[in-house]
Structure formats: structure tokens, C-alpha cells
């Protein structure tokens, strides 16, 4: 666990602004979810925007660090859409 925190901090320090952007997006995501709580349509739109923001963040970050590759983009898309489908099940109730 110590190794995890040590290496996580190292990574966060190395790309502070990028991760700050991701955290800010996440905080806005939670604020909007709270605002639209109970409204399924707007909650879905909020989740959709967050998933796309995450994918765009991935592309932006890897482009910035010159590690952008189609495999990375596919990875972010697959994770993002898996989560979107799972949340869509919960949103339907």
C-alpha cells in the first residue's frame, strides 16, 4: 500500500496540472449529479459528459506527454463506455 501511495504521489506531482484538471472535472460531475438528483435524463447527460471528458482528458494528457497511441485511446474509450453502460442500468430504475 505504501508503494502505491508513494508512486501515486510521484505521478500526481509529475503531472500536477493534468490531474488537477481531471479532479476539477470530477468535482463538477458530482456537483451536477447533486443538482440533478432524481432527474434521470439530466443525470444521464451528466454521466455522459463526464465519460467523454475522461476520454478527452486521456487523449490530451497522452498527446502532451507524447505517448499518444491508438491503444491508449481505445483503452480510455473501452473503460469509459463500460462504466457508462453499467451506470445506464442503474439510471433506468
Amino acid at each position: 500500500m505504501n508503494h502505491f501511495f508513494h508512486h501515486s504521489l510521484k505521478e500526481l506531482k509529475k503531472h500536477t496540472y493534468d490531474y488537477l484538471l481531471l479532479f476539477t472535472t470530477g468535482i463538477f460531475f458530482i456537483i451536477f449529479l447533486k443538482l440533478f438528483q432524481g432527474d434521470r435524463f439530466y443525470t444521464f447527460i451528466t454521466v455522459l459528459i463526464f465519460v467523454f471528458s475522461y476520454i478527452i482528458w486521456g487523449i490530451f494528457h497522452h498527446a502532451k506527454t507524447r505517448t499518444l497511441h491508438i491503444k491508449n485511446v481505445v483503452e480510455y474509450i473501452l473503460i469509459g463506455f463500460t462504466i457508462l453502460f453499467l451506470l445506464q442500468i442503474l439510471l433506468n430504475y
Binding site: H3, F4, H7, S8, K10, E11, L12, Y19, L22, F23, G26, F29, I30, L33, K34, Q37, G38, R40, T43, V47, F50, Y54, W57, G58, H61, H62, T67, H69, K71, N72, V74, E75, Y76, L78, I79, G80, F81, T82, I83, F85, L86, L87, Q88, I89, L90, L91, N92, Y93
Partner: protein, 296 residues
């Protein structure tokens, strides 16, 4: 290392065997997760449209669980547990159906219908009666918790005069939106001695219990619905599957990240920390998504 250990090692630990990345994070595995989520979503959607009236399907709420939780709260407050009453259950069911038929969400109907009309309509002569309403909750516990947090509903739920209770959990469309209505009805029957007195007491009792509504099915319906719920409990399964996937995925990301960092592996891959941050926010989001209910 036996075959199973080798498989787990291959699945979770980056090494030369899996191109220095946990196999569970390879693109083909990520595609399997996506297919699983997609199939689950389609299955749930199909079951919902084919069996729209299966009680307890849209939510994990059952009448007997609500009864158990209500009586637990009463026992904690040193009050008598309530006995499920067929008439109150029928009244609650009629009330719920009336709300769907006339498209309203209130203790009182658009034509002046009161909760007391539904109770008296079943032949239940009451000395005290009350009603609590809830909609769009996902769990029985959430419903009772919400009622207990509201002073008026709590007062109703913990009224010492009540002896009977009835519940209805009914799915339908309200204001164009699929809704699960929960009606909880309380009552104290009149005794033979004060039968004539009760008619005079009624208006007073109604005022006392204005904020309370109940719902229910008769006993046979409750049992039947509970059986259906236990067979088709895809809702609980989908929530558990979502949690299981998120926790499993987060653990794999953490293991992969620690080992790859320790070994100073340089590879073309997404950022595990970014994925973990994303999953963290999604877990918080689920809490908000699951809390959608309203009480009245």
C-alpha cells in the same frame, strides 16, 4: 507454481508473459468487460419491458421487508409491533392504483378523494388511521430511513395508537415516468363498544393523520410478489455486478500500477492513476444515483 497460480499471476501481475501489463487490463479483456456491461444492460432493459408489472423488479422493495423494518423502528421506540391487515393492504393498493390512474402524487386525489375513503371502502372501521407515501426508492431500507428522517412521517410511523398496517408497492407510469409507488397505511380498528362513537371521531382522526399515507396488497399478493422478486432479482444482481466490477477493476489497476512502477516498466498504456480517479468519482456518483426517492 501450479496452473491456477500461474493463471492468476498472468491475469494480475505484469511480467514478460503478459507483455509487462496485467492481462486483465489488456485491450481484449477491456472489450470483454464492455460486452458484458452491454449484454447486462440489454437483458435488464428487455426484462423490464417484458415484465413491467413484476413487483419488486424495478426496485428491491417488498411489503414484508417494509413491515419488518417498520416494526423494528417501533420496537426500538418500545411500541407494539403492527399486524399486517388485509383491508389496509387492499386500501393501500387501491390508493396506489388511483394515483396511477388519475396521475397524481398526493395524499388527496384531484376529485377530493382522501386516504380515509380508501380505508373505509374496504370495510375497515377505524378509530385512528394514517398514511405515508414514497416513490422511486430502490431499497426498503431507504424508504423507512427517509420516513424516519422526516418528523411528520416519523411521528406517524411511531404513533402508539396504531395496531394494524398495510402496504402496497406498485409499479406504473406517473407523469410520463416509470415509477414505483409505496403506500403505507396505518389503522386502529374500532371496537364494538365505541362503534357509534367512531363516526364522530373520524374527522378528528383524519386531521391528526393528514400527512400519513399507506399502501399494501392483500396477504396473498404480498407472498406472490415476494416469490416473483426472489426469482427475478436482476436489479440486485446488476447493482452487485457494477460494484464487483468497479472494485475488481480498481484492484487490478492498483496491483498493475505498483508492480510496473517498482520494475520501472516503460510501456504504451493508459494512466492507471487516471483510471482510478475516474472510478473513484463513479463510485461517489452511484451513491447519488441510487438516492432518488421522494416521500409525502
Amino acid at each position: 507454481m501450479n496452473k491456477f497460480q500461474r493463471f492468476l499471476h498472468h491475469l494480475f501481475v505484469p511480467s514478460y508473459r503478459n507483455n509487462y501489463k496485467s492481462k486483465a487490463l489488456h485491450t481484449d479483456f477491456l472489450a470483454y468487460y464492455l460486452i458484458f456491461a452491454l449484454l447486462l444492460m440489454i437483458t435488464v432493459k428487455n426484462i423490464r419491458s417484458n415484465y413491467p408489472n413484476v413487483l419488486g423488479f424495478a426496485t428491491d422493495i417488498t411489503s414484508n421487508k417494509l413491515l419488518e423494518l417498520t416494526n423494528n423502528e417501533r420496537t426500538k421506540a418500545n411500541l407494539n409491533p403492527l399486524i399486517l391487515n388485509n383491508n389496509l393492504t387492499e386500501a393501500a393498493e387501491k390508493k396506489a392504483k388511483d394515483m396511477f390512474n388519475k396521475n397524481y402524487w398526493s395524499h388527496f386525489g384531484p376529485n377530493g378523494e382522501t386516504p380515509w375513503d380508501f380505508i373505509l371502502g374496504t370495510g375497515y372501521q377505524y378509530e385512528y388511521a394514517g398514511e405515508n407515501l414514497a416513490k422511486n426508492f430502490l431499497f426498503s431500507q431507504g424508504v423507512v430511513d427517509a420516513w424516519m428522517k422526516s418528523p411528520t412521517h416519523r411521528e406517524n410511523l411511531l404513533r402508539k395508537e396504531y395496531a394494524n398496517i398495510g402496504f402496497a408497492v406498485v409499479n406504473g407510469v406517473l407523469n410520463g415516468e416509470e415509477t414505483t409507488l409505496i403506500v403505507q397505511m396505518f389503522g386502529t380498528p374500532t371496537t364494538g363498544l365505541n362503534q357509534s362513537l367512531n363516526q364522530k371521531i373520524n374527522p378528528l382522526t383524519q386531521n391528526k393523520n393528514d400527512s400519513i399515507t399507506l399502501s399494501g396488497n392483500d396477504m396473498q399478493n404480498i407472498l406472490g410478489n415476494s416469490e416473483k422478486r426472489s426469482v427475478i432479482n436482476i436489479f440486485s444482481f446488476s447493482i452487485e455486478a457494477t460494484y464487483f466490477f468497479l472494485i475488481f477493476f480498481a484492484l487490478v489497476l492498483m496491483i498493475d500500477f505498483v508492480i510496473a512502477s517498482k520494475l520501472h516498466i516503460i510501456r504504451i498504456s493508459g494512466k492507471n492513476i487516471a483510471h482510478l480517479v475516474f472510478i473513484g468519482f463513479i463510485l461517489i456518483a452511484i451513491v447519488f444515483i441510487l438516492k432518488v426517492g421522494a416521500i409525502l
